[in-house]
Assembly symmetry: C2
Homo-oligomer: 455 residues x 2
């Protein structure tokens, strides 16, 4: 006998939580499908050779590694063991790891199945990923990602569609959102114009901090990092960039006039704004040149979604990567994708009480079990109700009625049917509405009862 526990950073999901999570997943799935995205799944485990080196040193450290089967230590020499190098040990003792995201497995999938795939390939994928991160509030070691990517075309209409998908998903979920949009080429252009094409990260960090610490402190920091006054002066127009999307684009066009790359980025942003103007967006779409996520892999658009009514980090993100499959030897495949963060969306919706009652798919009707004879007589009626699509239960035992009613209450079952000996003889069912307390007498007929439930 042992007191069971659960691995830290991991979670059980109760029926109510599952109903809500499914509501989110189902919404995302339907919208992806309306846009022609098709679902794939990849195995939970990948070869570590597929995963290692794709997420930086930190990422490698956070991979969950699976111990090889069989007599693992038999493969090691005494010297190897004596060395006590855990990293080298793991590299030999573990050939598989749990996937860290859905992007690298997707790239691996595209390369392995390139002869069956109909390009451009629009795929979505909703599966858990694992990271051996330090668990903390809102951060888990197992969580779902909901990715959509288009691969095999560099058409910016894909960016436009992904923005429409984000907008439609959050319209359906009722979450007011702002989509922040940037382009890696603009960031590169800024670094060029500033005269430090090689110091993209320092520059973006500086732009990003403006809101929090003010322009004076930002400039101090840049000085301390070795930027000279001239560079800082050239950075200033970008730091001070203000106004609506079109105004920002105008200013950028001037400020980046000397950078071909920068101008290309502006053109791409302008294209996306032009096309999204032609459709209805529920989300706000805002250019934000301080947005600098995924700099190590994004090459074009960068986007991020914020909930407008809850202070929480990004709830969706994405961007374009020009050579995702290059790491596996397939060059020239441009892709663009987004990833919905199901857990944060869940938290936002819980906080704003946005889950509709219908999302709770519990039992609609419970038949009280008075006696074996009464229950026997109910079996065909209950089968008929299920055939009518009514989620119906018969309490499995002739327990005290009070206990059965408590069960219905605890499960939030909205209707209870009572058929005792008298009702049975008369061919009737007493139907009790558990919310209003009203009770009505109905013929013991599936269609009639189903109709009463739908009233």
């Amino acid at each position: 006998m042992q007191k069971p526990s659960i691995p830290k950073g991991m979670r059980d999901f109760s029926p109510v939580e599952m109903s809500r999570r499914n509501y989110i997943f189902q919404t995302i799935r339907e919208v992806y499908e309306l846009y022609g995205f098709r679902q794939i799944e990849t195995p939970s485990m990948e070869m570590l050779s597929t995963l290692m080196g794709k997420y930086g040193e930190e990422g490698d450290r956070l991979l969950f590694k699976v111990l090889n089967s069989g007599d693992v230590l038999a493969d090691f020499t005494t010297e190897e063991l004596a060395e006590r190098n855990s990293l080298r040990f793991a590299a030999k003792a573990c050939e598989k790891g749990l996937r860290y995201d859905l992007t690298v497995p997707f790239a691996r999938y595209v390369v392995m199945h390139r002869n069956e795939i109909n390009f451009p390939f629009k795929r979505y994928q909703i599966q858990p990923v694992w990271r051996a991160d330090r668990p903390q509030k809102g951060r888990y070691r197992e969580f779902y990602q909901c990715d959509g990517d288009v691969i095999g075309t560099d058409s910016l209409l894909c960016e436009v569609e992904l923005i429409q998908i984000i907008s439609e998903v959050f319209r359906r979920l009722g979450v007011r959102t702002r989509i922040l949009l940037n382009n890696r080429k603009i960031l590169s252009g800024i670094a060029e114009v500033v005269g430090h094409a090689d110091r993209l990260t320092d520059i973006t960090v500086a732009i990003d901090k403006l809101d929090k610490i003010g322009i004076g402190r930002v400039e101090e920091e840049l000085l301390s990092k070795g930027f000279d006054d001239d560079s800082i002066a050239r950075l200033r127009p970008f730091i001070e960039l203000k106004g609506d999307n079109r105004t920002q684009l105008e200013h950028l066009r001037t400020a980046l006039a000397s950078s071909e790359t920068g101008l290309k980025g502006i053109e791409e942003l302008a294209f996306i704004l032009d096309k999204t103007d032609r459709v209805q967006l529920f989300s706000e779409l805002t250019i934000d040149i301080s947005l600098a996520r995924g700099l190590s892999y994004y090459t074009g658009a960068i986007l991020e979604v914020k909930a407008m009514d809850v202070a929480i980090g990004s709830i969706t993100g994405g961007g374009r990567y020009d050579n995702l499959t290059g790491i596996f030897g397939l060059e020239g495949m441009s892709g663009v994708g987004i990833s919905f963060g199901a857990d944060r969306i869940y938290d936002v919706m819980t906080q704003l009480e946005l889950f509709p009652e219908e999302s709770l798919v519990g039992t609609q009707l419970l038949f009280v079990h008075f006696s074996e004879e009464d229950a026997d007589a109910l079996l065909p009626l209950i089968q008929g109700l299920r055939a009518e699509g009514i989620r119906t239960e018969l309490y499995p035992e002739a327990a005290k009625v009070k206990k059965q009613m408590s069960y219905a209450n605890a499960a939030a079952i909205p209707f209870v049917a009572l058929v005792g000996e008298d009702e049975r003889a008369a061919g009737l069912v007493q139907l009790k509405n558990m919310i209003t307390g009203e009770q009505e007498s109905l013929p013991a007929d599936a269609a009639a009862i189903a109709a009463a439930l739908h009233r």
Copy 2:
């Protein structure tokens, strides 16, 4: 650069496979919910202390173990490493493992959440499990299970409902099935009557082999295993048991008259037959006393489902276990459950071509992309079509029309819309049915086009 591969025994699922798999999962999910079952999920990893010792020695060996994070070898003494005992090493270097089935995690869930659960608890769970088995045709190292269990009541109405659920799932899927039903208590009764209560396995193996090797060889085998002529004579009525369910029950009643346990088993079987007689079953229900799966944990009903039109092993199985949560210190919780084998059901349905066309949720309508101007004008119409629920794509580039039509063909998209300059000027859409080749001219109106697609 590296040629990517996938861990052996594991699979990618393509869009077509996913559509079909989802069709199966969705059917199972809907039926479970009609019967009042509610979904839960548990983490992919469990503490190895939760998993070890629950599946026998063989099961322990087949568990995938996850290497602890950090400097694993630092915890080991030089002596421990020199010992080279891989089992003891793993016990210390791995505290977590991937779940092997959904039953033990469910038991763990019930014990940990017993204060929140509303008993009797009807739960379903559709998640992958992992086993480091030798991969072979139809056997994988990662596969989905679709379990439904009722815990917290010993009412045999649960067995009846599970049989109805099986019948309804396979009715919906169009798979003709036979449900084989037995009871552990009958097997115990037979062993008692034969005079070898302790040799249940040998006896059931003998009964099971009858079909394959004939009664003569079965008796030889029993003799060689040390059973005497008397015991074999007492076993003969069971081996020769024939006839319909009621006839078999009658014979068993006589043959097991001296075993209280055996008679209890008969009573339970009779109850289930009586109740299922009151409802319509699509599946055949057959008593089969040679059915002996899960003898190490089932204590009452044992059931197994065979497809009638394909020679394949069991496609669903289940039974009652009287004390599932006892291993975690919660006594007296009787449970009964079933598990649908999604992979085998998939194979059966593929072989019999049972997947309906509607199960393939691909794009319904592709708009050919002639030029940026033409495409621009289409964006609002396409948004309107998606709002009408039509899964619609715009080809992302102005590629050659032939290439775009090939894309539509390869993706089995049933309708293609052509809007060139002339159509655009006239406010028309040429709608081509890709199956019949027919083409019609329609107003560029979402509702009109949606109606044409539904005709």
